[in-house]
């Protein structure tokens, strides 16, 4: 097995090209599902790998409750540098567990607090709040899914654009985008190399909702205008801009001097033609070839992650005295 046992930890790097290509060239719906799936598989593999390394690491510590067979030289031989790797895996796994728990806890807390804030209002789907700061959010869960919009944002939009805004938020709720977002966020916590996938899924989920809104409203340009206006108004309010900068991904933030941010890219995409619903581009175009290569690479890396994990399990199983 040798160094291959460490593969699941670094293989998420191979998902970067597929994230970029899927983001740009696939239908947003396909891209969101594909990238979420890839991120989840890789995160699970990487965590299992860490867990196995930790088992080997803890098995050699005196006084552990694990079977003695697990610290046999044969098992240790399967892991190169087992002493260092095994012991390093213990804090690493603890950090992963802590970060994931914190992410889940925060997620629940924000949702609970947001729902509680709206508790006094009539239980309509759309909650319009009189606030000078422009914002609009899709708030899933609670007694019913809700859309929260501030009057400052609504005042800046024309009626058709407001319809686009509501259609966009409804699309988020109907497609349960928060689950995708939570999944990639947990994945990014499990393995930092998966962070670009989180950024990519956050973008493709928005694009997906944009496309749905465009279909509902019947005008791509209206949705584009709504997004553009909302973004410019939010920019004028320093408060909101500051807050969303913090949330805006770190990677796009760093790259934003060269490449346009997510909002202009969404508007550009909407001003262009609708994306093809066909699932995969043809292999005979450059883009198609690249997408297929990247997808195959991702599949291979996910499989070898799984392979390493299974091999370790088999070894440990063989070493366990019955």
């Amino acid at each position: 097995m040798g160094v291959f046992v460490f593969l699941p930890l670094v293989l998420p790097l191979t998902a970067w090209p597929v994230a970029r290509l899927a983001e740009q060239h696939l239908h947003p719906r396909t891209a969101t599902r594909l990238l979420t799936g890839v991120a989840a598989v890789m995160a699970v593999c990487s965590t299992v790998c860490l867990g196995l390394l930790m088992v080997v690491g803890t098995a050699q510590l005196p006084g552990n409750p694990l079977p003695d067979g697990w610290s046999d030289p044969e098992v240790r031989a399967a892991v190169p540098h087992d002493e260092i790797a095994g012991r390093a895996a213990i804090p690493a796994l603890c950090v992963v567990a802590l970060l994931c728990a914190r992410t889940l806890w925060r997620h629940r807390r924000v949702r609970r607090r947001a729902h509680r804030a709206l508790a006094g209002l009539p239980g309509t789907e759309v909650a319009v709040l009189p606030d000078g700061v422009p914002y609009a959010y899709a708030l899933p869960g609670g007694r019913r899914d809700r859309i929260v919009v501030s009057t400052a944002l609504l005042d800046c939009l024309e009626p058709a654009e407001r319809r686009a805004l509501f259609a966009h938020e409804r699309a988020h709720l109907a497609a349960r985008h928060h689950r995708h977002l939570l999944a990639v966020q947990l994945a990014a916590r499990a393995n930092p190399f998966l962070r670009p996938l989180r950024t990519a899924v956050a973008y493709t989920a928005e694009r997906w909702a944009d496309e749905e809104a465009a279909r509902t409203v019947g005008s791509r340009r209206t949705v584009a205008r709504a997004i553009g206006r909302a973004a410019l108004v939010s920019r004028a309010a320093p408060h909101a801009a500051l807050a969303s900068f913090a949330g805006l991904a770190f990677f796009t933030g760093l790259a934003s001097f060269a490449a346009p941010g997510p909002v202009p890219r969404r508007v550009t995409a909407l001003l262009g033609p609708a994306p093809t619903v066909r699932r995969w581009p043809s292999v005979f175009t450059t883009v198609g070839l690249a997408v297929w290569c990247a997808a195959a690479g991702t599949a291979v890396s996910a499989m070898s992650s799984a392979n390493s994990a299974v091999t370790m399990l088999v070894i440990l199983h063989a070493a366990t005295p019955l």
Binding site: T103, L118, G228, G261, P264
Partner: protein
């Protein structure tokens, strides 16, 4: 870009403030040096508007209906319970608060609007969470330094179809 902002501040609060500030200023000009009694009366008179504002803002900070006792505690216990009741009753007469019976006492709510209260609470949630974007899918995210110019260009482009 056309954008009319709706004023969202607590209106009753500002009116009360302006009223008292105006009275205080006028009296200060005319009654200088008239003795301690006037001075005390002035502070009491100013107190009424101020107290109403205080009670109202305390009520606004509550997560839902609050009792007079809660308001009294919230204000640091400087006011007598009966004073708080008096002020709340006066606010009720002005239509600034509403009340509902809860057990033996009344629970008070700022009447301005439930929506305003919800907005206040929502803002606290939004401001308090650094990575809320991960939970609540926002309509738009922030713009980078070049994005604004790019966006304006895109939107100003004449319609192709």
């Amino acid at each position: 870009m056309r954008c009319s902002r709706r004023a969202t501040g607590p209106r009753v609060y500002t009116m009360a403030d302006r009223e008292t500030a105006g009275n205080g200023g006028k009296r200060q000009a005319t009654e200088r040096g008239q003795g301690v009694t006037d001075d005390r009366q002035r502070s009491r008179r100013r107190g009424q508007g101020e107290l109403e504002a205080l009670v109202l803002s305390a009520l606004r900070e509550a997560d839902g209906p609050a009792t007079a006792g809660w308001v009294q505690e919230r204000l640091g216990g400087d006011l007598a319970y009966t004073t708080v009741i008096t002020i709340l009753t006066r606010l009720l007469a002005k239509g600034a608060v509403t009340r509902e019976r809860g057990g033996r006492s009344f629970a008070w709510l700022p009447a301005s609007d439930e929506a305003g209260l919800a907005a206040h609470r929502m803002r606290r949630v939004l401001d308090g969470e650094r990575d809320r974007e991960a939970v609540l899918a926002s309509f738009v995210t922030g713009l980078g330094p070049e994005d604004e110019r790019l966006l304006r260009e895109l939107l100003d482009r004449p319609e192709a179809d």
